[in-house]
């Protein structure tokens, strides 16, 4: 069965304290892995797509990496505005995205 597991469920950081969020997956025929950010009361906002093991993408303080079994979202020197729930999703060709339950990040100043 295709499955996505995110850890930790919640993460509290001090401003400037770098860390990583994990997304492990079991899916046959992976076509893409997606990272989204979701703020309270809003729809998920697209961040990154990764297609193959070894691929990396960066955006401001965020960097996403992919291996054959997991993806990491690295947050460097986070700021309070990075506080949100980060969602990971996987997709096979011609199917809908399968989401993990997310990691809720809180960054305090």
């Amino acid at each position: 069965e295709d499955q996505v597991t995110q850890s930790p469920e919640a993460l509290r950081l001090q401003e400037g304290e770098s860390s990583s969020l994990n997304c492990s997956y079991t899916v046959s025929g992976l076509r893409g892995l997606f990272w989204y950010r979701q703020d309270p009361g809003k729809g998920p906002e697209f961040l990154f797509t990764l297609y193959s093991a070894g691929e990396e993408k960066e955006k401001e303080r965020l960097k996403a990496t992919l291996t054959k079994k997991e993806s990491f979202l690295h947050i460097t020197a986070p700021k309070p505005e990075d506080s949100a729930t980060y969602l990971c999703a996987v997709q096979k060709k011609g199917t809908a995205l399968i989401f993990g339950k997310g990691t809720t990040l809180s960054v305090s100043s």
């Binding site: 997606f34 809003k42 729809g43 998920p44 797509t49 011609g94 199917t95 995205l97 993990g100």
Partner: protein, 117 residues
């Protein structure tokens, strides 16, 4: 419009009533998805449309739920005889395509918050 639009943004309905939720995808996007998000939970897949192909209805929780997509654009999710457990945020997303070699990212609307009382 520039993004995915959903209406209404909030809906309160009495148990047993039918409700219709609307989604206007990004122009030109052939793939459209419906998800449900309960409080503190992840996104639960409901139904997926790709172009003129038969929709993937495998995520619909019961036969009270149905969806259609007219003219390959606007989609309506209908819940008949609503129950309290149907209370959730219903999210719609669209993407350029999902049938090629590479998947394209899906963009979400702001959701419809449904409360069944």
């Amino acid at each position: 419009g520039a993004g995915v639009s959903q209406s209404p943004s909030n809906k309160v309905t009495e148990k047993g009533k039918d409700v219709e939720l609307r989604c206007d995808p990004i122009s030109g996007h052939t793939a459209l998805y419906w998800y449900r998000q309960s409080l503190g939970q992840g996104l639960e897949f409901l139904i997926y449309f790709q172009g003129n192909s038969a929709p993937d209805k495998s995520g619909l929780p019961s036969d009270r739920f149905s969806a259609e997509r007219t003219g390959g654009s606007v989609s309506t999710l209908t819940i008949q005889r609503t129950q309290q457990e149907d209370s959730a945020v219903y999210l719609c997303a669209s993407s350029l395509s999902n049938s090629g070699l590479l998947n394209t990212e899906a963009f979400f609307g702001q959701g419809t918050r449904l409360t069944v009382v």
